[in-house]
């Protein structure tokens, strides 16, 4: 059941079918006072694909996600999300666009006064009229998906860093959005926990058909998500190396000082001759 998905016309639905762009950035610029954060950034996210945004701290990676959500407003350029131009929308109109977006914040940003159940089901409890039993069922389902079903009545303060990120992923996916945005979901985590987060991202993309943008400076995680695919066999999930077609669906975007300096797939990124990129990858 779709809980809070936006109503779209059949024509727009057709236009946003497989292979069509679901997010478009067209020469987007943003500056705070004198400091330029983004300078004419352009890219397209295709439905069902993943965009991996790399760059050093302060390169403008997280800002891109905030612009997509409408949490920040661009100074120039145009942004389309799900067929709607959002860069000049008012806050009330943006609320409708956000219905189809899920965001995993850097530190999870869980509401510390609410339990895991209330955090995960927040959007459904507060912003929909779905029956409580149905919401509870969905909350248990998504917590099971991220392997934290037994933590449902805990408070966020009782969870480890990795568990908090996984609860944040569960919260972002609870209302079944068609686009998920991840802001450095593995930063500060140990490699094993980071891998479980990477697996969740891969599962959501490959098994749930969610389009995603992953902002990170953890190269290992970015390449893992780009080159791994999740498959379900006999009810069990497995993670296998992606074939070249699937790997091409994960496109890298590298930012430097607010500008795009590379756009392409994993093998193109690895073979780039750009000195900065080589230094970044080394």
């Amino acid at each position: 059941m779709d809980y809070v998905t936006t109503r779209r016309s059949p024509e727009l639905d057709e236009a946003l079918g497989p292979g069509s762009p679901i997010i478009i950035f067209d020469r987007v610029s943003l500056a705070f006072d004198e400091k330029v954060i983004l300078n004419e950034v352009s890219f397209t996210l295709i439905k069902g694909h993943t965009k991996l945004i790399l760059g050093a701290s302060g390169a403008g990676k997280s800002t891109i996600l905030k612009l997509i959500l409408g949490l920040l407003r661009a100074d120039a350029g145009r942004i389309w999300v799900n067929g709607e131009q959002i860069d000049r929308m008012r806050e009330e109109e943006l609320m409708k666009v956000r219905v189809d977006l899920g965001m995993v914040f850097q530190e999870g940003a869980l509401f510390d006064s609410l339990t895991v159940r209330e955090n995960v089901g927040y959007k459904l409890y507060e912003e929909t009229s779905a029956p409580l039993e149905q919401i509870d069922q969905r909350v248990k389902e998504v917590l099971g998906f991220v392997g934290l079903a037994e933590y449902i009545d805990r408070m966020p303060s009782e969870l480890s860093g990795g568990q908090r990120r996984r609860v944040a992923i569960a919260r972002a996916m609870a209302a079944k959005p068609r686009i998920l945005l991840y802001d450095e979901p593995t930063t500060g985590l140990d490699p094993i926990t980071a891998l479980t987060i990477d697996d969740e991202i891969t599962k959501l993309r490959d098994l749930e058909g969610v389009s995603s943008i992953l902002v990170t400076h953890q190269l290992r995680d970015a390449f893992y998500v780009a080159t791994t695919t999740a498959v379900r066999e006999n009810g069990r999930e497995r993670f296998v190396p992606a074939d070249s077609k699937k790997a091409d669906e994960a496109e890298f975007l590298m930012l430097r000082d607010g500008q795009v300096i590379f756009e392409g797939n994993a093998s193109e990124l690895r073979s780039s001759k750009d000195e900065y990129i080589q230094r970044f990858l080394s």
């Binding site: 809070v4 850097q106 959007k123």
Partner: protein, 257 residues
């Protein structure tokens, strides 16, 4: 030097502009949907019931000390029996509203700024917006409603307890008869005084909570920023309480006396 003054002036204008924007947004949220009644009830409990102890103690001791000091002065004129008149007039018109507002600023204004501030720096406010909830409706409006309604209620309680505190001192220490004290309490009050005591707390409640919310929502700079916001909310709130109290008093005197 000129540059510093210019920067300060710009920052001050920006603060006022953002404060007015917040107040306007709250006004709009009040008359449109969605509305979160559970949060409003929670804030009534947090701001109203939660502040009861501090307000009771403040009221009782203020009334008591007022009776003590007034007794000394009135003795010079042989008018000790009129102590109830001074206690009631002072408590209803000034000390009740102002001291209650200052105590609520310390307890509630700082709490709101710290809570909202930490939500801002941990991106919980951004998460709320990303989940389709307007933080003004969910967090600010319930606190404003609770502040505007509960501060007058707390003031009424504080005034009542202050008069009782004054009575205890008057009767036990100043040896003024119970009936004389209460007769003087009533004789010292005019209708205009009561209106003044009723109207002022609404304005003060609004000022305390709106400043707490404004400062909290504009927090930057991590945990250090939260500490700064908490201090600013108390300082700005306390000064605003005294300033607004003066201007509202002046206005009410012009209108009613």
């Amino acid at each position: 030097m000129f540059r510093l003054v210019e920067q300060w002036a710009k920052a001050a204008v920006l603060e006022v502009q953002e404060y007015l924007r917040l107040v306007t947004a709250v006004g709009r949220a009040l008359v449109t949907r969605p509305f979160y009644p559970r949060d409003v009830v929670e804030q009534f409990d947090e701001i109203g019931v939660g502040s009861l102890t501090v307000v009771l103690l403040t009221g009782a001791f203020t009334g008591a000390v007022l009776a003590l000091q007034s007794g000394l002065t009135l003795d010079q004129f042989g008018a000790r029996s009129m102590v109830g008149r001074l206690v009631s007039a002072s408590m209803v018109k000034e000390l009740g509203p102002v001291l209650t507002a200052l105590m609520v600023t310390g307890r509630v204004g700082s709490g709101i700024a710290a809570e909202l501030g930490s939500m801002v720096v941990t991106e919980q406010i951004s998460a709320l917006r990303a989940l389709g909830t307007d933080p003004i409706r969910k967090l600010v409006l319930p606190r404003m409603l609770a502040g505007v309604i509960m501060v007058p209620v707390l003031t009424a309680i504080s005034v009542a307890v202050g008069m009782v505190g004054g009575a205890v001192v008057s009767i036990l220490q100043l040896k003024v008869a119970w009936s004389i004290y209460w007769n003087e309490v009533i004789a010292g009050l005019y209708m205009q005084d009561i209106w003044m005591g009723v109207i002022k707390p609404f304005a003060l409640g609004f000022v305390i909570v709106s400043i707490g919310c404004h400062v909290g929502m504009r927090t930057t700079g991590g945990t250090q920023g939260v500490g700064r916001s908490t201090t600013n909310a108390v300082v700005a709130g306390s000064v605003a309480v005294l300033a607004v109290n003066f201007f509202v008093t002046k206005l009410l005197i012009v209108l009613m006396y």
